[in-house]
Symmetry: C2
Subunit: 205 residues, 2 copies
DNA sequence: AATATAATAGACAACGTGTTAATCAAATTA
DNA sequence: TAATTTGATTAACACGTTGTCTATTATATT
């Protein structure tokens, strides 16, 4: 016997599951409310008991995963970590947490970040990551300074996108051959190596 | 006096312009055909004389800009360039051409890559860039080899996204303060420096 | 001037949307 | 157990957008 709250949760979960399922094939604007209710096995009217419309569903789904990510960023970096550790690669635990989060929400993130996904969501997540990195730099170094006279926003986008690009490639990889540990290591390499070095073009002396 | 062909071109241009204009505020699924015809000052029926539907318009716009980019990639790398020059930073002319292309199509690319844009388009462009880089590596080195036991697809995505991330930041920058030359230089730095170095965290000996 | 073609204006059915009212089903409460 | 509350269902409705079609106008070509 399910409680009332459990019934609600079950219904909403089935709707979100349907969204992720149909999102693998259709883009959001091609998905109809009827699609979602048919796949989740509920009536169309029920959908409107839970969400104002299709966009409301998307907004709530995005806000939910987005705030989870925010919490992870806020608590993810161990306070004992200092500049020395950052320099020597102790960012690894942080990356590991992010990877675990991505892995836990693979289906949903694969949809939101994928070809049928929402660029605005990717933008929000990237922004959160940027702010977290910027904040961590300030905390660890006192003030955030950037070398190479790169404008701050460009420097930050380069770093965040190095992480994001690897994660997005992993999400789009259907074969799913890489373990979480392997993924974490690749991200670390993407941060330590220059793109040219990744390709093996340049060799530093 | 305009020719028939010129009339057609003018009408289709006005439709695409309207798409880019309204695309700054609405996402594609929120844009109606009526929006486009009202803004471009043509009748709704005329739209359907030129395009099957909204998606057909988008497809043609994407294909057009996409094939222009492909041509640029195919002709962009000077045959006289060799591995030595690649190593010593002579990729710069190639980057300059890409930047000029992006600048020429700033409004349209800003829409397609932006928050209201199409992730699938970004995916296609990134893929073309990856293939071009892979092909160039093979041409210049005989066989494409990657260091650091990074899987090939990850190595390529890291490099392409380093370029793309800078370009996307520039496209989203409303202030438009950076010149094409400055943008090119930042891209080169993004390729030469590791993300950590960009932030000034690590210092190599 | 006659002809061909692009563009217009209006009407039309089809479909998805969001709402509503009546009803059923299941969990909660007395 | 019985009454009540609440979630889910069903069907119907007006509304807006879509894609098609026809008749008509405007403009370029011959």
């Amino acid at each position: 016997m399910a409680t009332h709250q459990e019934r609600i949760t079950q219904t909403e979960t089935s709707i979100v599951d349907a969204l992720v399922t149909v999102g693998k094939k259709k883009s959001l604007d091609q998905i109809t409310v009827s699609d979602l209710t048919r796949i989740s096995g509920i009536s169309r009217g029920t959908f409107y008991l839970h969400y104002l419309d299709k966009e409301d569903l998307m907004t709530k789904v995005k806000n939910s995963i987005s705030s989870k990510f925010q919490i992870l960023l806020d608590t993810g970096i161990d306070d004992t970590m200092n500049y020395q550790e950052l320099s020597s690669g102790q960012l690894y635990p942080m990356i590991e947490k992010i990877v675990a989060f991505v892995s836990d929400n693979k289906a949903l993130l694969g949809f939101l970040f994928g070809s049928n996904g929402d660029p605005a969501f990717a933008s929000i997540i990237t922004d959160k990551l940027q702010k977290a990195i910027l904040g961590e730099l300030k905390r660890v170094k006192g003030t955030a300074t950037f070398r190479s006279d790169l404008p701050k926003n460009y420097a930050l986008c380069i770093v965040t996108n190095a992480i994001m690009s690897v994660v997005l490639t992993w999400l789009g990889d259907d074969s799913d051959s890489l373990s979480e540990e392997e993924l974490s290591k690749i991200i670390m390499r993407a941060l330590y190596l220059s793109p040219y070095e990744v390709l093996g073009i340049t060799s530093r002396k």
